[in-house]
């Protein structure tokens, strides 16, 4: 079934996918300048829902929600170093850490709660926010530490330009040649 629908660009409420405008207006998105400088969290959380563990767990106080628990998180991009601790803390699994500084490829670290976990070096189908396969990716690291409480953090190597697009992956059964 074709999963891309005409209303995909109509925003999160209509389609479940953040539109370009929503992403741009999202307070958890780092600026382009900041993205160029090194790894950083990308918090794709645009709605007012009662939730704040990202703020509570950030060791550098780089996420601000404020007094009202339903306020969407505000990423303080100068403080964030892209440590990735928030990835597994987010109940909505809405946080990734991206590193766009690589010469040939971007890095995307994302939460993965499926088994079996991919292996390092495995080639996977990288998917965008609508589930469309956009490129191949190589699994760089797989971390399933106890502090992440069963949410594994998988870091993918994707071609330059895909770091802000790839948000999920599917196993392909292939390995690096």
């Amino acid at each position: 079934m074709n999963t891309t629908r005409t209303d995909d660009c109509q925003g999160i409420r209509k389609s479940g996918v953040l539109s370009k405008e929503e992403l741009e207006n999202c307070k958890g998105m780092p600026s382009e300048e900041r993205l160029k400088r090194g790894p950083i969290a990308v918090i794709e959380c645009s709605e007012e829902i009662p939730c704040n563990p990202c703020e509570a767990n950030c060791p550098r106080d780089a996420i601000d929600i404020g007094g009202v628990i339903t306020a969407p998180p505000h990423l303080l991009e100068q403080k964030c170093v892209g440590c990735g601790l928030c990835i597994s803390r987010c109940p909505g699994l809405a946080i990734t850490v991206v590193d766009l500084t690589g010469e040939r490829s971007d890095k995307v670290s994302l939460p993965y709660e499926f088994c079996p976990l991919p292996e390092v070096g495995e080639i996977v189908h990288a998917m965008n926010r609508t589930g469309k396969i956009v490129c191949d990716a190589e699994v760089l690291t797989v971390k399933n530490e106890e502090r992440n409480d069963r949410t594994a953090i998988v870091t993918l190597l994707v071609p330059n330009g895909y770091g802000m697009e790839v948000r999920f992956f599917a196993r392909s059964g292939r390995r690096r040649n």
Binding site: E113, F114, R150
Partner: protein
Amino acid sequence: MTAAFDKRITDHPILGPLDTTEQCTIFVDSKPLIARLGEPILAALMANDIWITRFTKKLGAPRGLFCGIGLCNDCLVFVDGLGCVRSCVTAVEEDMSIETRTNEKRRF
């Protein structure tokens, strides 16, 4: 079901590997089947690919799992010694003898 697939979730990213150390034998329509000790009858039936617990009396329509928490009474089966029970909330026991109502000769 159209295709065969593994009914037991042997590994799970959050819940971990399935514990199958404690098993028991139950008899479903006189056929011996393996169940996990303490699981509901319906889980044991489904794990063994039995999805129909009964046929309705009036229309002969099949019934099976619906609510899963003992509210809807769709999944009634007959257990020797216990009578008519809700299979989704009644735990299996060793040597339990269960009759699904796939056999319409039985008049319930």
